[in-house]
Amino acid sequence: MIEVIDLVKTYTGSTTPAVAGVSFTVQQGGFYTLLGPSGCGKTTTLRCIAGLERPDSGTIKLGQTVVVSDRVFIPTFRRDIGMVFQNYAVWPHMTVFENVAFPLRVGGRKLSGAELDRKVLDALELVGLNGLEQRMATQLSGGQQQRLSVARALVREPDVLLLDEPLSNLDAKLRERMRSELLLIQRRVGITTLFVTHDQIEALSMSDRIAVMDHGRIVQEGTPREIYHAPANEFVAGFIGSSNMFPGRIAARDAATGQVVIETAAGQLRADGEGATGDSVIVAIRPEDVVLHRAATASAAGANVLEGAVEIGLFTGTSVEYHVRVAGQLLQARVSSRIDFARGDAIRVELPPESIRVFSLSGGAGPGPAAAGRTAG
C-alpha cells in the first residue's frame, strides 16, 4: 500500500510548486497511474515517494512504514521499493546477471550464493531474459534493457514498484507489447504499483485507478472508465481521448426533462447539465459519440439532430474520421470504416444528449460519477 497525504514540493529557484498538495492511496496489489502532461508534477511525486527528492511537506507511507513526515525522512536506499527508470538506467559496466544481482548484494541481508543465483535467475525468467545472464547490459536491445530493469526492480521482492514512464523510449510496436507484458508480470507478482505516464492509452489500458494531474494537483481520480466517460472538467476532457469542444450559452432549462438547452455555433443542443440560464459553458462530445446519417435516407429526428456537410474524410482502416461542418462549427466524427461519404455530401449529425458533457467556464464539472472522484487542492 502507498499512502500520500498533502505532498508539497517546490524546487529551489522556482516560484510555483511542482507538487502542490497531492493526496492519494494505492491499495495493496493495485496498479495506480499518475497521468498528466509534462511538468504536471507526476514524476516529482514519484521521486518523492522513492526518496530521490525531498518534499517540503506532507506524509508518505509505504506499507506500514512512514517514510516521509514532518519528523521522518528515510533515505532512498532504506525504502522497500523497486524502481524502473524512463531510460532504464541499466549499468553499462555490469553484465545482465550483475545488474539484477546488485540489489541483493547491497541489501542488508546477505544471501548464500545459491540463493542469490536462484533469485536472479527467477527474476530474469519472469521477464523472459533467461539465457542472457552473461551478456553485457549494453549489448541488449532497448526492449531487453527495459525488461532487465524490471527484473532488477523486482528481484528483492519489494513492497512497491515505481515505474517512471518505462515505456516511452520504446518504439510503437514494442510499446504495445510491453504494456500487456508489464501488466501480466504485475498481476502475477501482485505487487503494489505506481505508474507515471503522459500516455493516456497506457494509463487507460493498464490501470486499476488513474489520477489525472495538472499544475501539481490531482484534478480527477477514478477508474479508467470514469475518467474517460465522465471527465470532471474541460482539462481532463481535452487531455484524455479527443473531444469536440466548443463554447455555448445556456438558453433555457427544460423543467420536464431537467436538461439544459444550449445555444452554440452548431445550433441548439440539449444536454444533461447544471448551470443557470445565461451561463457561458463549454460543450464537449467525443468523436466516436457523434452519429452521422445520410440526409436523403435519414429518418432520425429528435433531440440534437442537425444538418451538416462533409468537409473531408480520413480513412484509417479501423474507422473513418469525418470532419463535418454544422452551421458555424466544424465537428469531428469517428464512425465505422464501412460508412462511406464523399466530400460535400449533405448529412444529418446527431449529438446524443447523454454523450454531451457541459462544463461551466469557471472549470466546474458536469453531472455524473465524475464528481465522485477525489480531487485535491
Binding site: F77, N87, G108
Partner: protein
C-alpha cells in the same frame, strides 16, 4: 573504380559525388599540404638521427652516416636517468593535479559548496595563464634568494642565507607543473561528471545501496574511462611540457627529456648537436606515442558505455553540512595559488624599480614607469605586432586546413582518408620541442632553395605552430561537421546547387560558430606558446612569450611583471570568453 568516381569507393549513403574534378583536386591539395607540414619535418628528424653532423648541420659537408646517436641515447645510463627524472616529474605533477582536480570537480559538480559557480569560472579562467608566466611568477615568490615568501619566512624565523624553501628542486618543479595542469584536468573531469546519467546512481539508491556503495560500485566505474583518458591526455601534455622545466627545472639542475633536447640544440656553450637532439626526440616521441594509442582504445571503450539517455535531472547536490567552510577554503586556497598569487606578484614586481619585499619603503617606491617604458619600447611594439600576426595567421591557416581535412574525413570516401587521418593525428603526439627541432632542421636545409627565406623569420614559427595545432583544429571541425545532417547537404543538391555552392551556402554558414570558436582557441594557444618560438627565434621574430622570457632571464623584473600582467589580462579574458561560447557546444579542448 569507375571513371565517374575517380576518388574511389562505392557510392552509397554518406557519399557525395558531384563536381568530382574540383573535389578531387581539393582533396589532393589538402593531403599535399599535410604531407609537407607533418611528414617533412618527421622525415628530417629521422634522417638527422643517422647523421654525425660534426658540429655543423646534419646535411652539411662534414656530416657522415652513423649510429652513434642511437648508441648515445639508447645505451647510455644518462638517458635512463633522464627518463627516470621525466617519469617522476610527470607522475608527481599528474598525481598532484588529479587529486586536486577530482576534489574540485566533485565539489563544484555534486555538492552544495557555496560560490561553486564562481569557483568554476575562476578555475576555467586560469586556463588562460601561459605556463611561462606561471613559472616566472612562482620564481618571484619562491626562489631561494629573493623569492618573497622565502624572504618572509627568513624574517619570521630569523634565518640567514638562502631558502628555506627551494623552488629549484624536483618537488618545486612538480608543484608548479601540477598547478598548471589543474584547469584542463578539471574541465575534462567536469565534462565526465556531467556525462554520467544521474539515473544510474538513482537506480542504485533505489536498489538499496547506501551513498558509499553507489560511489564505489556505480559512479567510480562509470567515471573510469573518462578518468583514464584524461590521465593519458595529460600525461602526454606533461612529458612534452617545456616552459616550466626550462624556467624552474634547469635552474636547479633538473633536466627532463624536453629540456635535454633543447640544451642539445641551444647549448649554453659549444656547438649544437643536431644528431643527438634528433635521437632524443625520437625517444620522447615513442614515450608520447605509446600512451596515445592506449588513449584511442579507451575512447573506443567509453563509447561502448553509452546507453540510452533520458531527460536529464539536475543531480541532487550533496549537503556538505559542516564541511562547507573547509571545502570553500580549499577551493579558495587553490585559486590563490594558481591565480591570485601569480597575478599579484607580477603586479608587485611591475611597480618596483628593483625587486623587493613589500615594506613601507617599497610602497613609497611604487611606480608605473614600467608600463610607460613598455609603451615606448620599440622591441615591445615589434613583439606585440609579431604576436598578433602570428596568432592571426596560425589561427586562419590551421582552421582552414583543419576544416578541409574534417570535411574530407566526414563526408567523402576518398582512399586518401586513412593517410589524412593519420597525418592530422600525428602532431598531437609530437611534443612541441620535437616539432621545433625538426622544423628548424628542415628549413636550414630548404632555405637555400626556397624562393623566399623562411629561416630566421616569423613565418617559420607560423609554420611550426600550424603543424602543432592542425590536430586540434581538425578534431574540432570533425565534430562540428559530423553534427550537420547529411540531408541538409542533400537537400541543397536536390535543389540544384553545385558542390561549390553546397559548401559555400550550406556547410560554411552552419559551421561558422565552430570555426570562429576554433580560431580563437588556436589563436590563444599560439600566443601562449613559448616552446616553438624560443627554438625558432631570430632577432627579427621576437614575440611576446619569448620577450617575457628574455626580460626575466635578464632579471628585468619590472618589465617582466608589466608585460606579464598585460598578457595575463588578454589571455585570461579570452579564455573566459571562449569558455562561455563553448558551454553551448560542450567542447572540452583547450
Amino acid at each position: 573504380m569507375t571513371p565517374a568516381a575517380p576518388s574511389g569507393g562505392s557510392p552509397g549513403r554518406g557519399v557525395r559525388r558531384p563536381s568530382l574534378t574540383a573535389r578531387s583536386v581539393a582533396i589532393f591539395i589538402v593531403v599535399a599540404v599535410l604531407v609537407y607540414l607533418v611528414l617533412g619535418p618527421l622525415l628530417m628528424l629521422v634522417f638527422s638521427t643517422f647523421r654525425d653532423s660534426g658540429g655543423g648541420l646534419p646535411f652539411g659537408p662534414d656530416a657522415t652516416w652513423t649510429l652513434d646517436n642511437y648508441a648515445e641515447v639508447f645505451l647510455s645510463a644518462t638517458t635512463y636517468r633522464l627518463l627516470g627524472t621525466t617519469l617522476v616529474f610527470s607522475m608527481g605533477a599528474l598525481a598532484l593535479s588529479f587529486s586536486v582536480s577530482i576534489l574540485l570537480t566533485w565539489l563544484t559538480e555534486r555538492t552544495n559548496m557555496p560560490f561553486r559557480n564562481v569557483v568554476f569560472v575562476l578555475i576555467v579562467a586560469s586556463i588562460g595563464i601561459p605556463n611561462v608566466i606561471l613559472g616566472i611568477a612562482w620564481d618571484m615568490v619562491l626562489n631561494p634568494v629573493n623569492g618573497l615568501f622565502n624572504v618572509f619566512l627568513r624574517d619570521l624565523l630569523g634565518l640567514t642565507g638562502n631558502g628555506p624553501i627551494s623552488l629549484f628542486s624536483l618537488p618545486g618543479l612538480i608543484f608548479v607543473q601540477g598547478i598548471s595542469l589543474v584547469p584542463i584536468t578539471f574541465l575534462l573531469l567536469s565534462a565526465a561528471f556531467r556525462a554520467i546519467d544521474v539515473s544510474m546512481e538513482d537506480a542504485a539508491s533505489a536498489a538499496g545501496a547506501p551513498f558509499r556503495t553507489v560511489m564505489r560500485r556505480i559512479t567510480l566505474p562509470l567515471l573510469t574511462p573518462a578518468l583514464l583518458s584524461a590521465f593519458v591526455y595529460q600525461f602526454v601534455t606533461v612529458i612534452e611540457s617545456f616552459d616550466i622545466p626550462l624556467i624552474i627545472g634547469l635552474r636547479g639542475g633538473i633536466t627532463v627529456l624536453s629540456t635535454q633536447i633543447y640544451i642539445s640544440v641551444r647549448p649554453a656553450a659549444g656547438l649544437p648537436d643536431y644528431g643527438l637532439a634528433s635521437a632524443y626526440s625520437l625517444f620522447l616521441l615513442i614515450l608520447a606515442f605509446g600512451p596515445l594509442l592506449f588513449y584511442n582504445r579507451i575512447i573506443g571503450r567509453s563509447e561502448r558505455y553509452s546507453t540510452i539517455t533520458g531527460r536529464g535531472y539536475q543531480p541532487r547536490r550533496i549537503d556538505l553540512g559542516a564541511w562547507k567552510l573547509p571545502s570553500m577554503l580549499f577551493a579558495i586556497g587553490f585559486l590563490t595559488i594558481s591565480f591570485i598569487v601569480p597575478a599579484l606578484v607580477l603586479f608587485w614586481a611591475s611597480t618596483q624599480p628593483f625587486y623587493a619585499m613589500p615594506s613601507p619603503e617599497a610602497f613609497s617606491r611604487i611606480t608605473f614607469k614600467a608600463y610607460g617604458d613598455l609603451a615606448t619600447n620599440p622591441l615591445v611594439r615589434q613583439a606585440l605586432v609579431n604576436t598578433v600576426i602570428l596568432g592571426l595567421s596560425v589561427g586562419a591557416f590551421t582552421m582552414i586546413i583543419g576544416t578541409l581535412v574534417a570535411w574530407i574525413l566526414v563526408r567523402t570516401r576518398s582512399r586518401l582518408r586513412v593517410v589524412l587521418d593519420l597525418l592530422a593525428f600525428l602532431p598531437h603526439a609530437m611534443p612541441g620541442v620535437i616539432i621545433g627541432i625538426s622544423i628548424l632542421l628542415l628549413y636550414l636545409l630548404l632555405d637555400p632553395i626556397l624562393p623566399l627565406p623562411l629561416y630566421g623569420t616569423l613565418w617559420i614559427i607560423v609554420i611550426a605552430l600550424s603543424t602543432q595545432y592542425i590536430s586540434l583544429s581538425s578534431r574540432l571541425m570533425t565534430a562540428a561537421i559530423a553534427q550537420i545532417k547529411l540531408e541538409l547537404e542533400e537537400a541543397a543538391d536536390a535543389s540544384g546547387a553545385s558542390w561549390f555552392m553546397v559548401i559555400r551556402r550550406i556547410v560554411l554558414p552552419l559551421i561558422r560558430p565552430a570555426f570562429v570558436n576554433g580560431f580563437l582557441l588556436v589563436f590563444l594557444q599560439a600566443i601562449k606558446n613559448l616552446t616553438l618560438a624560443l627554438i625558432l627565434i631570430a632577432p627579427s621574430s621576437v614575440v611576446v612569450s619569448t620577450l617575457i622570457y628574455n626580460l626575466w632571464d635578464r632579471t628585468n623584473t619590472a618589465a617582466t611583471g608589466a608585460l606579464g600582467i598585460m598578457v595575463l589580462l588578454i589571455t585570461v579574458v579570452m579564455s573566459v570568453f571562449l569558455r562561455l561560447a563553448n558551454n553551448r557546444s560542450g567542447t572540452v579542448v583547450a
